[in-house]
């Protein structure tokens, strides 16, 4: 089908090609241990975060420089979020949430570089992140509250007749959390990048190309916003889930 369009109009659309997982060296099959572009971009993300958070703060200055300010801003934002949403006892899990936020925001932002690979556009990655949150939050909930954690599903403020129905709905919504949590992030990343690619494909036609470049620029700006917002949303939802686990009463 793609070849048909290619033949007829001279346009090349491969919007999904950017998401291919391919080995870094050679053309072999992708085993679980093969270094792939996933490895490369995750490593770049980890190194970039380390550069910002460790090298940026090595001055330990009372009056921070620009890099240290950014690191402190990120720290302050997530720290405040955890404290505000999950409460003081949620601060114990702050490093974990900070890791999630930094990884996602850097994955999203680095994915916006031309020719890069967006690790957070894959449900395999976001799914693992969301499942890790889901499993750890559920475990924390049961460890902290015991069976009282099940009170999360038993809405005591509702009339008794409605409670079983509500419990069922709550239970379903609870188990849908990791799905929505992961698909929201991956879907946003994938859609934005694919749209940019499609707009870029149109630039092969001379008449449309100025418009196409304008559209790509606009989309890129929007995607910058989305990249940050989705990382923020993922993190704040994690905090909300954590709050549910720590204080399951409605």
């Amino acid at each position: 089908m793609a070849s048909d369009t290619e033949k007829e109009t001279g346009l090349v659309f491969h919007p999904m090609q950017q998401f291919e997982v391919s080995p870094l060296f050679g053309d072999g099959p992708v085993h679980w241990y093969t270094p792939t572009n996933v490895t490369l971009w995750m490593a770049i993300a980890v190194l970039a975060i380390t550069a910002l958070m460790v090298l940026g703060t090595r001055g330990r200055a009372i009056v921070p420089n620009r890099l240290q300010s950014v690191a402190e801003l990120a720290y302050g934002m997530i720290h405040k979020m955890v404290e505000d949403v999950a409460g003081k006892d949620g601060l114990k899990y702050f490093p974990y949430i900070m890791t999630l936020f930094m990884f996602i925001v850097f994955g999203n932002m680095l994915g916006l570089l031309p020719k890069s690979f967006t690790v957070t556009s894959h449900v395999a990655v976001t799914g693992v992140l969301a499942l890790a949150v889901f499993i750890s939050v559920t475990t924390i909930g049961f460890l902290k509250n015991g069976t009282a954690f099940l009170g999360l599903f038993w809405v005591t403020s509702a009339p008794l007749v409605l409670r079983p129905v509500l419990a069922l709905i709550e239970l379903i919504s609870y188990f849908v959390r990791p799905v929505s949590h992961s698909v929201r992030l991956a879907g946003n990343m994938m859609a934005g990048h694919a749209v940019i690619k499609v707009f870029a494909g149109f630039s092969a036609i001379a008449v449309i190309s100025p418009l196409s470049i304008l559209a790509v620029t606009a989309m890129f700006g929007l995607e910058l916003l989305v990249a940050f917002i989705q990382a923020y949303v993922f993190t704040i939802l994690t905090c909300v889930y954590l709050k549910d686990a720590l204080h399951p009463s409605h």
Partner: protein, 206 residues
């Protein structure tokens, strides 16, 4: 789907190879291309489950490394920096507050000292005034006494002078009277003359 792909692949291969290519050779390449096309099937690479273990493996490693870096190095350091800064700010504010308090105290002490000095000065002035007044009083009293003494002395002298003048006058009057009486040929009775002069003078002095 796959048949469509095969068709497409065949077309592409035929185009690229040209019409002169041998038919069986072209067919073999088409099959290879079709196989390649199947491997990178258009669709979502996200749903290609073959790459899942790879992604999950590298994700796990990345997250562990990142968690270690953040929780062991970066976050404690940033927390320390932020609390240091907070401490420095609080310390500075407290120092400023202390200095302000000290300035206030100094001002109060100054005011107090000033008021005390004023009071002291007032007291000294009053004491001096009292002393001067005392001295003055003493001097005045002294002067009064002296004046009184002099006055009494003068009065005494005046009296003496008057007395002596009276005595002299009496003497002269007696002598003159006696002389007169002698001149007129009378017998001078010294007692009667004295009596008459005394009577006369008594009346004159009154």
């Amino acid at each position: 789907m796959i048949s469509l792909l095969q068709e497409a692949a065949t077309t592409v291969v035929e185009q690229s190879q040209g019409a002169a290519a041998a038919s069986e050779h072209g067919g073999a390449t088409a099959q290879a291309a079709a196989a390649a096309g199947e491997a990178s099937a258009p669709g979502m690479p996200q749903l290609n489950f073959d790459t899942f273990p790879n992604q999950i493996f590298w994700l796990a490693i990345s997250l562990v490394v990142l968690y270690w870096v953040l929780s062991k190095i970066a976050l404690p350091r940033i927390a320390a920096v932020i609390s240091d800064r907070q401490g420095a700010i609080t310390g500075d504010l407290m120092a400023a507050e202390e200095f302000k308090q000290r300035a206030k105290d100094a001002e109060a002490a100054y005011d107090k000292a000033l008021a005390e000095a004023r009071g002291e000065a007032g007291k000294i002035v009053a004491a001096n005034r009292a002393e001067i007044q005392k001295e003055l009083d003493a001097a005045i009293a002294h002067a009064d006494a002296e004046i009184a003494a002099r006055v009494s002395e003068s009065e005494k002298r005046i009296r003496e002078i008057r007395d002596s003048a009276q005595a002299d006058a009496r003497q002269v009057a007696r002598e003159v009277t006696a002389q007169l009486v002698e001149t007129f040929g009378g017998q001078v009775d010294q007692g009667a003359v004295d009596q008459a002069v005394d009577n006369r003078m008594e009346r004159a002095l009154q």
